[in-house]
Symmetry: C2
Subunit: 407 residues, 2 copies
């Protein structure tokens, strides 16, 4: 089957009958253009929140298996309505749930990972000229149990299907026009990127640009599947392409992000013995806690201060683990600093261009902003700064790198 295009519409794009009809027209237009659309949809608007509320009124901590049975109904409702809407316009359509289109997952309810896709049913429906509508966010275990894919689940369904179907592209329709050089709510003259590489997108996604979950971008990169982020409200806009962008000689900053959902932790006076940092971080890793930046300072003879950042919602879990660590090795009490933010610039090759790092640090210096921690990767430079100064910093750095002119 040729010219398959996978399109994914989020919950806000199918929130009511009128929006479903708008999606319908767009999908039919693709069909008229000679493409074979496979459409992945999320649950309508905030219907998932209502189901969660209902569940909590019955059981404050419901089992994740039963939550998945419950929540998967949300997408099942959307797919049937979109199929009906397409049929009302005189086109052939068929809705398929996660298991009906062969999406097999591991058995980790509420955060399942796709293990395999058997797209035979989708292909045979496309062969019959139907527009295929697929429930995002869900799959089935080998045992026949319904699973949901957790955060970024519907995007992941779309990318995984695009790969399995050998689609020409995977379009993610959302409530913004594409990927921006900075959060447009923070930086007024942020500009939309026409193209971005998987790696840059991954960094932006991880650093708090919430348009796409890193998980689905990673899957696309691994399989070299072209992603397009577009607006379902402004369908005339062309969006942002996420592809294997050709490497330019000149490194260029592509975006500035700021994540204030972090907390900085410091364990002072840790005895300077081999393996002691390993001990701390393996205790945290055992509880699956994502550690971000780490700095170890030699404080004075035979004692170190170890600082690192974690997401704010992990603080409670982390606290109890560190208490145990401090007790065991005999360090000083934990210091917690919540009012910090992580400011980052992203762009392929930027760490190898000394002018870029010095431009970043110089701008912060001129603003009188203290840099508490620094970390770098091949394509990003991150600084921990005071949260109260983060908006000012993002705007100034955006200007300094002339990101309002980026194409």
């Amino acid at each position: 089957m040729e010219k398959i295009i996978v399109q994914k519409y989020g919950g806000s794009s199918v929130a009511d009958a009128e929006r479903i009809q708008r999606v319908t027209k767009h999908v039919i237009q693709q069909k008229k253009n000679g493409l074979n659309p496979v459409v992945v949809v999320s649950a309508m608007g905030d219907s998932t929140d209502h189901l969660i509320e209902l569940a909590k009124s019955i059981n404050p901590s419901p089992s994740s298996r039963e939550m998945d049975v419950l929540l998967s109904t949300g997408e099942q409702i959307s797919i049937s309505l979109l199929a009906m809407s397409i049929e009302a316009m005189g086109y052939k359509a068929i809705s398929l749930t996660g298991y009906q289109c062969g999406i097999q997952t591991d058995p980790f309810f509420s955060k399942a990972k796709i293990s395999d896709i058997h797209p035979d049913r989708i292909l045979s429906e496309l062969d019959e000229g139907k527009i295929v509508i697929v429930a995002g966010f869900q799959g089935m275990t080998e045992n026949g149990d319904i699973t949901t894919l957790g955060r970024g689940g519907s995007d992941t369904t779309a990318v995984a299907l695009a790969v399995a179907l050998n689609a020409t592209a995977c379009e993610i329709y959302t409530d913004v026009r594409g990927i921006y050089t900075a959060d447009p709510r923070v930086v007024k003259d942020a500009s939309q990127l026409k193209d971005i590489s998987y790696d840059e997108m991954l960094e932006l996604a991880k650093l708090g640009a919430k348009v796409m979950h890193p998980r689905s971008v990673e899957l696309a990169r691994k399989n070299n599947m072209k992603l397009v982020v577009r607006s379902s409200f402004e369908l005339e806009e062309s969006g942002t392409n996420i592809t294997e962008v050709k490497q330019m000689e000149k490194a260029q900053v592509r975006g500035v992000t700021c994540d204030d959902n972090i907390v900085r932790l410091t364990v002072p006076n840790v005895p300077d013995k081999p393996g002691i940092a390993y001990k701390l971080f393996s205790m945290l890793a055992a509880k699956n806690i994502h550690i971000d930046m780490i700095i170890q300072n030699l404080n004075h003879d035979a004692f170190n201060d170890i600082s690192f950042t974690v997401p704010k919602d992990e603080l409670e879990n982390v606290n109890s683990i560190i208490e145990a660590f401090i007790k065991e090795v005999g360090a000083s009490p934990l210091l917690i600093r919540k009012d910090v933010a992580k400011l980052s610039i992203v762009g392929t090759g930027i760490t190898s261009d000394a002018n870029i790092a010095s431009g970043l640090f110089g701008t912060l210096y001129q603003l009188g902003i203290n840099i508490e921690m620094i970390s770098t990767s091949e394509i990003k430079i991150s600084c921990i700064i005071d949260e109260s100064q983060s908006k000012l910093a993002v705007n100034e750095i955006h200007s300094f790198f002339e990101l309002n002119h980026v194409i």
Copy 2:
């Protein structure tokens, strides 16, 4: 697996969190009593109506395949909530959709019939000590498509499962206490029956006692599965048993029903030729129209009047067929009488006891009520009378046969 009991709870029994918790307690009590409950539930309250409304706002005549995908979510929500509720009380439970518990159907969407049940999954979950919660009203075709079973669907799921699991009984929990000698809204001193035979129940169900759909009663009779109709609001009440009641020597009236959802049709002056009645009724049968009572009177030489009754909602379909028939054979224009009701008495062997028939006709005579048509079967006698007199007649006949004393 021994001591399996199948219980079915209708939509009003699981309409909100509080009612779900009441059902939970009752189910757990059965488990404590040493039984292995398999619980079939319908969609919550009027949630199905909301889904239908949503569909119609998008497509006035949606395909039945997509309607089934949509409507089956209602039961899926109920089963997960009931399972969570049982888990909240510290018992093990698991919810299973129609296809997960192996309910295979034919491919007639919105009115599918169960073709087979593979209860392996249910049995293995029961073996692990779990209370199994099953979505009523739904199944899956061989092709993997979701179907719904149409009217009486959840009761049918329950009975079919009880048969497949070789359960000790199938309990139908509803919003009335059981089966009554007459509709308690019409006859104030109607009494609840402790036992009733499948045949009597079938007649009552067909004659308009709406507690159970004939379809599920027929399935129970075919497999000799004991049915119990009980109230989910008054759980201390024991309900009505529907079983193969031992035949008594003395015939006894067990119930009086009245169905005013019928219309009487008369085709006057049909030529008296062989095969002409066959022609009319085969034309109607071809359109799957259920004809009830039929009377053919010799009117005058070589011409007959043919009268019969059909459900009121079939009138439109019937009309066009009869017009064609009249045109073809040259009969007089159709006469339609809408203000009639069918009054019936039900009881095994009553037609073989002349006193019962004469008691019925005599009572109607003394009330000055004209009998327009009569039909009998082994266990029922039905009369078509004027609709305006039906309530009076039901009450007087109920008294005449002393049904307020029936046990």
